[in-house]
Amino acid sequence: MWRCIALALLIPLSVSAQSIFLHRLNWNPVPEVVSGYKVYRSLNSAPFFLMDSTTNTNYTFTNTAAGIYRYRVTSYNPFGESLPSQEVATGTLRPSTPTNVTLQVIIPIP
């Protein structure tokens, strides 16, 4: 179900990179006592890297540079870190490349 939502998110969010969006991640708390949660991000299918950690069950940030971003979260305590959650994705697509550039020489009339 969430994969479908993640894919669905990609389509309507083909927005201009100049638009300011507030991104909000939400997740369910885990039943154990934990030190907090870690938010990971991957850009354009690169490996995930640690974006931030929080003691809340949500995380907000403003939009980023163009690209397809995937997010996932883990919980952690002093003894280790959980496996990552399922991913959600969003994208701010770069404008398409202009094509068919032509050049016309304009000869000034003498």
């Binding site: 991104h23 154990e32 997010y71």
Partner: protein
């Protein structure tokens, strides 16, 4: 002629105060007892010290050093001689150190092939690719002499990937069976033993997992036993109340956007 003394049953060992033990026993059923003798030592069956309890059926032995186990028996003396020793009881005065936890990831260990370090994107772990060979050696520094337990973060997905040989410094290896329930999730289990690597699997978990470790640098060494058993970290602690766990995976992650 030797007297036939009745069985003396040691009933009770308790701490009267720090580093003292109080023993009590049933009186001998024989007549003509002149005194009871408490004998004790640091090795079972070898009693290097003794004290008379007189005609009393209890005795407090003070001044036992922290951390060492002592073994006690009682005999009865009469005009005809001394009885056989009673049943043996033992007691170890706890160390009085503050609680300590030492967490070591495998990235800090020295690996000897065919132990290799693997990263699967979520976890970095050590695994031996062959049976019975390869080492994963941790070198923790201990703050004080104490009795420690060691937990290990392992992944044991089936019966064929659930053990290591474990040794401390130059002590003999024992078999550590990592789990009783196999699962594809990482879990912390306390290192146990069989009482020797030649002992059958029925002896698994038979040994109360204790490591007497002196202060300073030590080595905790894992040797591959069943290939594919994965090791991520160890936790060494003198605090029996500590039970390390991996937290659950967060669920229901959603992303919303607002202008």
């Amino acid at each position: 002629m030797r007297y036939s003394w009745g069985l003396i049953a040691l009933l009770f060992v308790s701490t009267a105060y720090s580093a003292s033990v109080s023993l009590s026993w049933d009186a001998s059923t024989s007549s003509g007892i002149t005194e009871y003798i408490v004998k004790y030592g640091a090795v079972p069956g070898v009693y290097t010290a003794q004290e008379s309890a007189g005609m009393a059926t209890s005795k407090t032995i003070p001044g036992l050093p922290d951390g060492f186990r002592y073994y006690f028996v009682v005999t009865a003396k009469g005009s005809g001689g001394e009885s056989d020793v009673s049943n043996e009881v033992s007691y170890r005065q706890s160390f009085s150190n503050p609680p300590v936890q030492i967490l070591l990831e495998v990235a800090s260990a020295i690996l000897e092939p065919p132990f290799v370090l693997v990263s699967d994107g979520s976890y970095t772990y050590a695994v031996s690719t062959n049976e019975d060979v390869g080492f994963c050696r941790f070198f923790p520094t201990f703050p004080f002499l104490d009795e420690y337990v060691i937990w290990a973060a392992v992944l044991s997905e089936n019966e064929g990937t659930d053990s290591f040989y474990v040794s401390q410094d130059s002590h003999p290896e024992d078999v550590y069976d990592t789990v009783r329930l196999w699962t594809p999730a990482w879990q912390w289990t306390m290192i146990n033993g069989r009482g020797g690597i030649d002992k059958p699997i029925e002896s698994s978990h038979a040994i109360d997992p204790r490591f007497f470790i002196v202060s300073g640098p030590n080595e905790i060494r894992f040797r591959g036993r069943e290939q594919g058993t994965k090791l991520k970290a160890i936790l060494i602690t003198n605090d029996r109340s500590v039970v390390p766990i991996y937290p659950s995976t967060p669920t229901n992650l959603t992303l919303t956007l607002e202008r």
